[in-house]
């Protein structure tokens, strides 16, 4: 699966997407310290934390994209940071559980 497939999911809005990269798994968390310590390289970060620091932590953890749940507002500076860091940003009306199930089903997890 790649970021392109995520962008094509039902009810997923693409807010920033530049380079298509493989998505090897998912990590669902709203605690950024937990993401930093435990998220895996190449994952899609599923979270409601929609701000600049989310991008910084995702970059540090090696995540390739962020899926913002519950249609949370995404500030412009978050997109700006994502562009700089080369991290895709998506948004969905699904909650974290539903979004995780969606990704897990497709990944066969």
């Amino acid at each position: 699966m790649t970021l392109h497939d995520i962008a094509a999911f039902d009810d997923v809005e693409t807010l920033h997407f530049n380079t298509d990269l493989p998505v090897t798994g998912g990590y669902t968390s709203d605690l950024l310290s937990d993401v930093m310590a435990n998220a895996g390289e190449g994952c899609l970060l599923i979270t409601i934390q929609a701000h600049n620091n989310t991008v910084a932590v995702a970059a540090l953890a090696g995540a390739v994209g962020i899926l913002v749940c519950n249609n949370r507002p995404v500030p412009d500076d978050m997109i700006e940071s994502a562009r700089r860091e080369g991290i895709a940003v998506f948004r969905t009306s699904r909650n974290q559980f539903e979004a995780s199930c969606m990704l897990g089903n497709r990944l066969g997890a």
Binding site: L31, S33, M36, A37, A59, L60, P75
Partner: protein, 239 residues
């Protein structure tokens, strides 16, 4: 007196390396600050240098840190006594996971002396959340006689509002809010002292958002009384 209770030195991984305790004290003094706190992320190791620097420029120092709670709320714990601040430091450090500092994203974390000499470089990431809850940090700060102030409570990240959605009941000496939101928060929390702080991470930010505090002395008890009087004056001024 102008008070500024939230400042980061070069020890904080997200702060500029120019932020030596000496530069902070010198710049704050030049901007008319009288009471100033050093609050690095989860660490008080630059407080000894800060004490000497504040003495040099005639400032009243508070020694403390900005603790990251397990909920990822940032809260200030402030002390007028260096030894007590160091005791708090041991309690916090013992509960912080040792994640390596990634220098691609953060800067070095130097412990320095009052003359900007590097004494030690801390190699684990000081920003990582500790295992202490906000309630436990408040309790410990109180037991050690310190001031307990949640940082920038209405910021988009690492605040009680971003992490919990509300200010949990607690024994707060004040709440720090984002500049421009003081009046709204005075109305919302009429029994609390609502303050701003510079949260300085680089030299240009030093002394940018202090608040006025009437003090009869320079010890914690006087500062606590001053903050209580500040809350009371808010209460009396609300129509």
């Amino acid at each position: 007196m102008l008070a500024d209770l939230h400042n980061h030195s070069c020890l904080s991984p997200c702060a500029s390396l120019e932020m030596s305790p000496d530069l902070i004290a010198q710049t704050a003094a030049a901007k008319g600050i009288g009471l100033i706190a050093l609050t690095d992320h989860n660490c008080t190791r630059n407080c000894p240098a800060f004490r000497d620097a504040c003495k040099r420029y005639g400032l009243t120092p508070l020694f403390g840190m900005e603790v990251t709670t397990v909920e990822e709320c940032h809260v200030l714990a402030l002390f007028d006594d260096l030894d007590t601040a160091m005791e708090m430091n041991r309690w916090v450090a013992a509960a912080q996971p040792r994640l390596p500092l990634n220098l691609d994203y953060y800067s070095d974390q130097p412990v320095v002396d009052a003359d900007d000499n590097i004494i030690e470089l801390l190699t684990y990431f000081l920003g990582q959340a500790t295992a202490h809850s906000i309630e436990a940090v408040g309790r410990q700060t109180r037991e050690l006689g310190g001031l307990f102030i949640p940082s920038h409570i209405n910021r988009h990240a690492f605040s009680v509002e971003s992490q919990l959605g509300f200010l949990p009941p607690g024994d707060y000496d004040a709440i720090e809010v984002m500049p421009g939101t003081v009046d709204a928060y005075r109305r919302r929390y009429p029994d609390l002292a609502v303050i701003t702080a510079s949260d300085a991470h680089c030299p240009e930010q030093i002394g940018t958002w202090p608040f006025h505090l009437h003090l009869e002395g320079h010890d914690i008890a006087s500062i606590r009384r001053g903050l209580r009087n500040l809350a009371l004056s808010h209460l009396l001024s609300i129509p």
